[in-house]
Amino acid sequence: MKVKVLSRAASEYTRETPQDIHKIKRNYDPKLHPLEKAREYTRALNAVKLERMFAKPFVGALSGHSDGVYCMAKHPKKLTTIMTGSGDGGYGICQIEKQYGRLSDIKALLKVSVVVRQRVIYTFLVEPIKPAIDHHRNDPIFATSGSQVDIWDENRSDPIKTLSWGADTINTVRFNQIETNVLGSCGTDRTIILYDLRMNSPLTKLVLQMRTNAIAWNPMEAFNFTAANEDHNCYTFDMRKMDCALNVLKDHVSAVLDLDYSPTGEEIVTGAYDRSLRIYSSRQGHSRDIYHTKRMQRIFCVKFSMDSKYVLSGSDDGSIRLWKAKASEKLGPKDYRERAHLEYQEKLIERYKYLPEIKRIAKHRNVPKAIKNAQNTKRIMLQSQRQKEENLRRHSKKGTVPYQAERKKPIVERQVLSTKSKTKLTTNSSNSYTNNLASLGRFYVNTMKTIGKKQVLRIDPSIKRTMCKRCESILLPGVTSRVRIKSRPEPCYQVLCIECNTSKNYPTRKGYQLFSEKPENIFRSNESSAENGEDISIIKQTKKKYNKNNNNKEI
């Protein structure tokens, strides 16, 4: 008989002295680990809850500026140094030091107009328009913008090169960090212009529907850049192929004012007029996180720190805020086991992220009421626009109203400055007006109407008749409207808006006068001054009218 019975020596399984660590035996046989999926799911659920619980992104605020912080630059090599510029004409160099999790405030505050690399080497005279400035990565060259882009050498007092392409004012210039001779700018005429320092003229120009406020080059992919647009979105472009955006970053509810890439090129931070900053994964369309505080005002500049762990924002309220790039990350050193545990939690969340409960918890953010309301309004607006377009599509000939890609929508025009012909225009599509400019036109008309209402002004009929009363698009006979002459029921001409199918009749019978052309409605200023001394009550009655007419004349 051969027999063997399990007989374990306790010393094999227990530690010898209390100073030793416990002996852990593992056996990965699935039979010993039942319900693994359910247990893992539970762990994932706990992990995602903890992640939200520990999400406290705000690290600290740096005060010191007496006006809003409108520009910011980070030192490319020193992790803790940033430079900020304020509306009061001052600038500050901040030395961010982590001392027990606290920050020392701004160290020095000097007053100079433009400074290069911390030390004041030269003071340059730049045009008094709000200038933007960016330094070349390696060479002693920097670019400023105003009505044109000027390239300066640090050792010369005059610009070495001046580049312009029809913009009124240029808001931003930004050097590419890999292809260091390439730079981009964006101007008030809704353009993004790309330049190459090795050439004497700009490369390309891209016209978008709305103005671009800032651009940022991807630090890892030399040819990609992202533009922060006034229409609440950011658009990522490949500079080699700009007829379609690579990505559209949505979620903001107001104009995006600044953005910056993380040094890895994986994430983008944006600051917006809606008093919030958002962090996006550069390849996804919606934000990963939103940061806001009660006191933070409109954000004018944002920066990712060079270790991609922190995010800086400068806002209208004059303080610079420091945030964690990952809201729930623990600051300070972590020991090996803690790190392993956190990695495990992250992996669990990643694995179960599509399950409804986990998705719900991971997605949930508390958002200020103003933003929440704006989101709702925006959703309704976009929905109605989509519905309108869909209705139009349904009631018109098949194929006449094509679907348009969201990534192509913002692009109005792309121009290339070739060396042979001075300017060669390549428009994006044949009926570019109806597709692209129509909404811009509507926007302007709407603005005009709003201003008119606010100021209590009448729009002159000659202008008013060029706009659709219902959809507010500009009526160009043959392009956006159809004009027909009618004799019945009374002689008139009918203008039909093609956009929304609204028709309006304008009588043309003999002796027809508009309200404003009727003699009793024309206000005579002489009479009113005569009455002025006699009867005050009349003046009060006519005052409103007077104002109206007076303003009307000015227009």
Partner: protein
């Protein structure tokens, strides 16, 4: 070089065990069709990682130190002829201690239960003797006499608490034998089970109600009416936490706390079912009935594999970690090896506990020991090759210190699985539901409707007290086993009402200032 080949062979042999079921996985052809390169890359990476994980797990098996026990004989000797006495002479000194016999003739027959680590045992004599002890360290934890019938005993999540089904209620005692809880909702319980990952104590008894109680929160999770009368046969499927009940009409029903009707109903025997056992992989089930049959089932297909005839009906069944089947019938215990794989001609081991009736048998986890409770006490036998040789300290550790136990308790509470996740296929979580669209929409609609029904306003008639007060009627009318928000609300209201009434009656007794009915006729003026 040769060693490496051997290692590869071992890994290849072990690999299938660690490969997770791959339903819904894309084949290479489907993968080729995907146009999105990023998605394709991600899927391929996931595939690669899971393969690597399986091979690494298989490789880690080389590091396991212990080998399973065995019993081999030569020539015409048979393993089933070997007695415990013979074994005792042939095993090492430590192992001889595992064979013992506790003579407790006055309080028998005994039922028993091992903890998940196998270190502690609790025994309960039917006439009221309960004792728990550390049988490996020969240490008595507690010994109590409850002076009433004890029907079943069960450890809770660790060796600090155990539950006892007594004459009327279920009680929970701590390791010192102190009564901690009396579970009034569990009445006349015959069998107890505990689901360690869900912290659910499950009971079934004379009234045929299956009740799930959460021992971490104290909440009664589900009360299910089996509608099949008195039940004293219950086993849990350790793989998916489904309860198997054996009934007097010969059926075995499978239950989860989320359904008011059984998930599966199997007709297993022509007479009442006497015992049920489910193996650790959740693939096989053994049942025995009063018709003298012992049947083995595949519970993936719900089809019988083998059946054996027992001379007297088997009163107790148990399956060890390595798949040995223990059968207790009359005074005998028979152990079968590889019973689920093919029909066996002879048993692996035999044991006769002369002059007794066996009530309960249990294999000790992580040890080659079989414990049996019978009318004359409790005995422990050595069955070589029954227990898992290599333990996982983070799952169940017989050698854990107090600190480790506390740590493990906290972790297990954090990882507590919700009872809603008890389903027949536990790997379903996180998978895509591939049911037909019609079915899915129907389910969704039902769910929404149920939600809406829960949200509806509670309209009650204005009948305040008595047996058929509106709240009580509502409680009675609704499905009893479903505890939803509405029901909790009603229960709370009822409780408040009761409290208010109580208060009112107390006030009446104490309130002296109130004018009495006949006072108006008296001359005395009332004191203000």
């Amino acid at each position: 070089m040769k060693d490496l080949d051997i290692i590869d062979k071992i890994v290849a042999k072990n690999l299938p065990k660690y490969v997770r079921p791959a339903e819904g996985k894309l084949g290479s052809r489907q993968l080729k069709k995907i146009k999105d390169k990023k998605l394709k890359g991600t899927l391929e990476r996931i595939e690669k990682v899971s393969k690597e994980a399986a091979s690494k797990a298989a490789r880690s098996e080389l590091l396991l130190t212990e080998e399973p026990g065995y019993l081999e004989v030569e020539g015409i000797e048979k393993t089933f002829n070997i007695t415990q006495k013979q074994l005792k002479d042939n095993v090492d000194v430590d192992s001889t201690k595992k064979i013992f016999d506790l003579k407790l003739t006055t309080f028998g027959p005994y039922s028993l239960d091992y903890t998940r680590s196998g270190r502690h045992i609790v025994i309960g004599g039917q006439k009221g003797h309960i004792s728990s002890f550390d049988w490996m360290g020969n240490k008595l934890n507690c010994e109590i006499y409850v002076k009433e019938t004890v029907r079943d005993v069960k450890w809770l999540h660790n060796e600090l608490f155990f539950a006892v089904a007594q004459k009327k209620y279920v009680f929970i005692y701590d390791h010192n034998g102190l009564e901690v809880h009396r579970l009034k909702k569990h009445i006349e319980v015959n069998k107890l089970e505990f689901l360690p990952y869900h912290f659910l104590l499950v009971s079934v008894g004379n009234s045929g109600w299956l009740k799930y109680q959460d021992t971490s929160t104290g909440q009664l999770v589900a009360e299910l009416r089996t509608k099949l009368g008195c039940c004293d046969v219950m086993a849990q499927n350790p793989w998916n936490a489904i309860m198997h009940l054996g009934h007097s009409n010969g059926t075995v029903t499978l239950w989860s706390p989320n359904m008011s009707s059984p998930l599966v109903k199997m007709l297993t025997h022509k007479g009442p079912v006497k015992a049920v056992a489910v193996d650790h992989t959740g693939k096989y089930m053994a049942t025995s009935g009063l018709d003298g049959q012992l049947k083995l089932w595949d519970i993936r297909t719900y089809k019988p594999l083998q059946q054996y005839y027992t001379r007297s009906p088997a009163s107790s069944l148990t399956i060890s970690q390595l798949g040995l089947l223990g059968v207790g019938w009359g005074p005998h215990v028979t152990v079968w090896k590889d019973a689920f794989l093919k029909k066996q001609q002879s048993p692996y081991m035999n044991h006769l506990q002369a002059g007794t009736q066996i009530k309960d048998i249990n294999f000790c986890p992580f040890d080659d020991v079989l414990g049996l409770g019978h009318s004359d006490g409790v005995s422990s036998l050595i069955i070589p090759g029954s227990g898992e040789p290599n333990l996982d300290s983070l799952e169940a550790n017989p050698y854990q210190s107090n600190k480790q136990r506390q740590e493990a308790e906290v972790h297990s509470l954090l990882d507590k699985v919700q009872s809603e996740m008890i389903v027949l296929d536990p790997t379903f979580i996180g998978k895509v539901d591939r049911a037909s669209k019609n079915l899915l929409t129907k389910e969704l609609k039902e769910e929404q409707e149920a939600q809406r029904a829960g949200k509806g306003k509670l309209v009650l008639k204005n009948k305040m007290r008595g047996k058929s007060s509106s709240l009580k009627r509502y409680l009675r009318k609704k499905q009893k086993n479903v505890i939803d928000e509405q029901k909790l609300k009603v229960q709370k209201l009822l409780e408040q009402e009761r409290e208010a009434r109580k208060k009112r009656t107390v006030d009446d007794g104490e309130d002296k200032d109130r004018p009495k009915a006949l006072e108006r006729f008296s001359n005395k003026k009332r004191k203000s």
